[in-house]
Structure formats: structure tokens, C-alpha cells
């Protein structure tokens, strides 16, 4: 799941939890899933060391990204 999809899923879960007609058991299951997704999203944001590189293509058409 991409970060974008994870956020969309969280949004969906939050909306579902607001509804009264959702059976309690299902609500609890959704909440558990929501916690897992939140952890995933936070982990992605915690990786704050992006690289800066230059793309180089060798004669054989192989790509290298050099710092």
C-alpha cells in the first residue's frame, strides 16, 4: 500500500467509525486496522534522510545513481 493509499484508508476507517449502524465488533476490528495503518504512515514519515543523486547511464544501459 502506498502512503497515499494508507492515508485514504485511514480516512475511510475514521468515517466508518463515526457511523452508528456499524456493528461494534466490526468497529473494533476497523480500529485495530486503523492503528496498524497509523503506525505504517508514521514510519514512512520518520524516514527523513532522502538522498540527492545524479543519474548516470552506463554504456550497457544500466543506471547508476551517484551521490
Amino acid at each position: 500500500m502506498t502512503f497515499e493509499e494508507t492515508l485514504a484508508r485511514l480516512e475511510e476507517i475514521a468515517q466508518a467509525l463515526d457511523r452508528d449502524d456499524l456493528p461494534l465488533e466490526q468497529a473494533l476490528r476497523l480500529f485495530e486496522e486503523g492503528i496498524v495503518r497509523l503506525r505504517e504512515a508514521s514510519a514512512v514519515l520518520a524516514e527523513a534522510d532522502g538522498t540527492v543523486r545524479t543519474l548516470v547511464e552506463t554504456a550497457e544501459g544500466v543506471f547508476e545513481a551517484r551521490s
Binding site: T2, E4, S42, E47, E57, G61, F63
Partner: protein, 389 residues
């Protein structure tokens, strides 16, 4: 020695004289700007352009060699007022003056605008500039590619802005020549390389500000087509806010400057963190609310149940008490408690009258706290009747 041509003996050949004339003309009129109108324009199949430059007072045959024509954005229109830079020469074979043009400008935006408009119209017709072709940029790109010069201000600006907004995003430069004759092919090659590599989510293509000529590669048809064919969304960022290029129209998004492109490409990390935190808050709030609601419902049920149970017990108790009261009132035990006794025969039947007794026979006396065995001594008929009738 006589000077050449001063006598019959030293007569010059025609070609020789023409050659001298050509040399002196070229030396006398090198690299001049000339103003005039274009007439009789012809483009030869070998790429050379032939036309006349003229005004009210004169006319001059002109030529643009193919290698120079390539650098001119579009051929001039018939009758167009132009400025031509060139060298005056002589076409020796024909004995004709010839102005060899290496640069041509129309008045105003002129030829650049003409070329721009023609390409724009062509791409419009093909649908390459259509709004419906524009792809949505990824909201949260993990990897941004940049096609520009590695030495330019554009790359420095983009790198700085992206690092500041979101230090977690990976950034890859695909170096390209962004001005001059090599630029279009270099940009196309960089775009193709990006497609084959496939490592980025979005690409910024552009350069910093410059003259119209400096930016011209981004108005090149081959670059426009390569942008349209790019497999990932393209942000075009060429020059300053006022510079519009063909690449801008074909790209999925036009950014006014390279810095703006970087802002559009990458979200601010802190805002993302806030957003995720807020979502977490919404989840817990929603669940807490839900649990509260369920708790209230449960308590309401429990209260109802307790009340009904208490009422049921109360009803039964009241009934039991009523029955007990009636039983007590009817019970012979009550009479016994007041000191009376009941006489019962051996068979258990009550001996209520004189006639039931037989002298000498035993019988039981039932008292409030037990039983006593007795014997009839005598029967006295004169004792007072307790019952009348």
C-alpha cells in the same frame, strides 16, 4: 611588371576579377545588419533559403545556408519586414551580388512567435495540449527526478526547496544541456532515460531565466513530444513567470519558476505529520464515542432489567403475604395458641362432641406445643354447652 589588367598583356580572366571583387566586397561589408522586406522567398530542397531583400530604393539577392537556417525558428513570410545579419558577397558564377544571411529577425516577436504559434496549433490539433490529458501529480511522491543543467540556478533552487519542505524525499538529477543547439536532443535523451530508468514518481523539467533564444529548446517540437510521451507526470518550469513555452502547454503542470515547481511537487513534511496525527486523533475519538454510546445503552438496559425484576419480586411477595394472612386467620393453631386443645381419636378424627367419647377409652389432646395422651374418666352431660343449637 605591370599591374594586372593595366594592359592587354596582363588582362585578367573573368573568374579572377570576380574573385577579387568577391574578396573586396566581403572585406568591405562583413557582418552587417540590413533592414528590408522579404520577397520571392524560396526554400530549396537542400535546406538553403533564397529570397530578395528590398526597400523603396533598392533590392539585394539574399541567401541563408542550411546550417544557418536551422538556427532560425521559422522561415519569414512574404513581404515581412526583417532585419538580416550577413556579409555582402558576389556569386562569381553568375556575377550577381549576394547577401549571405546568418541571422534573421522579424520586427517585434516576429519569427519566434510565428514558429511558436505554428507548433502550438499543431500540438493543439493533435490534442497533446488538452486539459483532459493532464495527469494528477502524486500527492506524496517518494522520489522526484529533475531534468536540468547540474550547474544551473534551477537545480540549486529545486534542491533547496525540496530539502526544506520534505527531507525524506529522494531527489535525482538527470543532467541535460538546456540551451544552445545541443539542448533539444539532450532534453529528449534525458526524458527517454527517465522513462527507461523508472525510478521516480514525478519529474520537473526546466531551467532558470534567460533570453528568448536561451529558452528556445523548450519550444522545440521534439522536446514537446518527449514530454507528452513521458510515463510519469511532468512539471514544466522554464524561466520566469512571464515566460511561456510549448513544454509548459504539453506538461501536466506549468510552474512559474523552478522553485514553484519544487513546492508543487513535494508536500511539507511537518504538515504531513500533523495530518497523520489528526487522523489518529479522529480514530480514537470515534472509537471512544462509540464505546461511550454502547456503555450508555448497556446501562439503560441493565437499569430496565433491574427495575422489572424488583417489581416481579414485589408482586410475588405481596401475594404470599396475602395468602399467609388468610391462612393464619383460618388456622386452628391460632386457637391452640390461645390455650384451647383439640381432642382426637385413635383414628385421628376430631372428637368434637360428647357422643364421640367412650369412658375408659384413650384419646389425644393436641396442644399448641405438642400432644398429650388422655383417657375419658366420665362424661358429664350437665356441663354448659359452648355452642348453642
Amino acid at each position: 611588371m605591370h599591374a594586372p589588367g593595366s594592359s592587354i598583356e596582363s588582362a585578367l580572366g573573368v573568374g579572377e576579377l570576380a574573385g577579387y571583387a568577391k574578396e573586396s566586397l566581403e572585406a568591405a561589408f562583413p557582418g552587417l545588419w540590413v533592414k528590408g522586406e522579404v520577397s520571392n522567398f524560396k526554400r530549396h530542397s537542400n535546406g538553403h533559403w533564397y529570397f530578395s531583400l528590398k526597400d523603396a530604393a533598392g533590392q539585394l539577392p539574399a541567401v541563408v545556408w542550411a546550417r544557418d537556417a536551422r538556427r532560425i525558428p521559422a522561415p519569414p513570410d512574404e513581404g515581412m519586414s526583417v532585419f538580416a545579419r550577413g556579409t555582402l558577397s558576389l556569386w562569381t558564377g553568375q556575377g550577381k551580388l549576394q547577401f549571405m544571411v546568418d541571422a534573421l529577425e522579424a520586427e517585434g516577436a516576429g519569427l519566434w512567435q510565428k514558429a511558436f504559434d505554428a507548433l502550438k496549433a499543431k500540438l493543439d490539433t493533435e490534442g497533446l495540449t488538452a486539459e483532459s490529458r493532464k495527469r494528477r501529480l502524486p500527492k506524496y511522491p517518494a522520489h522526484v527526478a529533475v531534468i536540468t543543467s547540474g550547474d544551473g540556478a534551477a537545480w540549486r533552487d529545486i534542491e533547496a526547496v525540496i530539502r526544506r519542505r520534505h527531507p525524506g524525499v529522494h531527489l535525482t538529477l538527470i543532467p541535460a544541456v538546456v540551451q544552445g543547439e545541443l539542448a533539444p536532443a539532450s532534453l529528449v535523451q534525458a526524458l527517454e532515460r527517465l522513462g527507461r530508468w523508472g525510478g521516480a514518481d514525478v519529474v520537473i523539467i526546466g531551467r532558470g531565466g534567460g533570453s528568448r533564444e536561451d529558452l528556445w529548446a523548450f519550444n522545440h517540437e521534439s522536446v514537446a513530444r518527449a514530454v507528452a510521451a513521458c510515463p510519469i507526470p511532468v512539471i514544466s518550469a522554464v524561466g520566469h513567470e512571464t515566460d511561456f513555452t510549448i513544454t509548459d502547454y504539453v506538461a501536466d503542470l506549468r510552474a512559474a519558476t523552478p522553485s514553484v515547481a519544487a513546492e508543487r511537487a513535494v508536500p511539507v513534511l511537518d504538515e504531513l505529520r500533523d495530518g497523520v496525527r489528526a487522523l489518529g486523533g479522529r480514530l480514537s475519538d470515534a472509537l471512544e464515542d462509540r464505546v461511550d454510546r454502547e456503555g450508555r445503552r448497556l446501562r439503560a438496559h441493565a437499569d430496565g432489567l433491574r427495575l422489572r425484576a424488583a417489581r416481579a419480586v414485589e408482586r410475588r411477595r405481596a401475594r404470599i403475604e396475602r395468602v399467609a394472612g388468610r391462612l393464619e386467620a383460618l388456622s386452628p393453631l391460632g386457637v391452640l395458641a390461645r390455650g384451647f386443645a383439640v381432642a382426637r381419636g385413635a383414628d385421628g378424627r376430631p372428637l368434637a362432641r360428647r357422643a364421640a367419647f367412650t369412658v375408659g377409652e384413650p384419646f389425644d389432646l393436641l396442644l399448641t406445643d405438642g400432644r398429650v395422651t388422655a383417657r375419658t374418666e366420665s362424661i358429664d352431660a350437665s356441663a354448659p354447652h359452648l355452642r348453642t343449637g
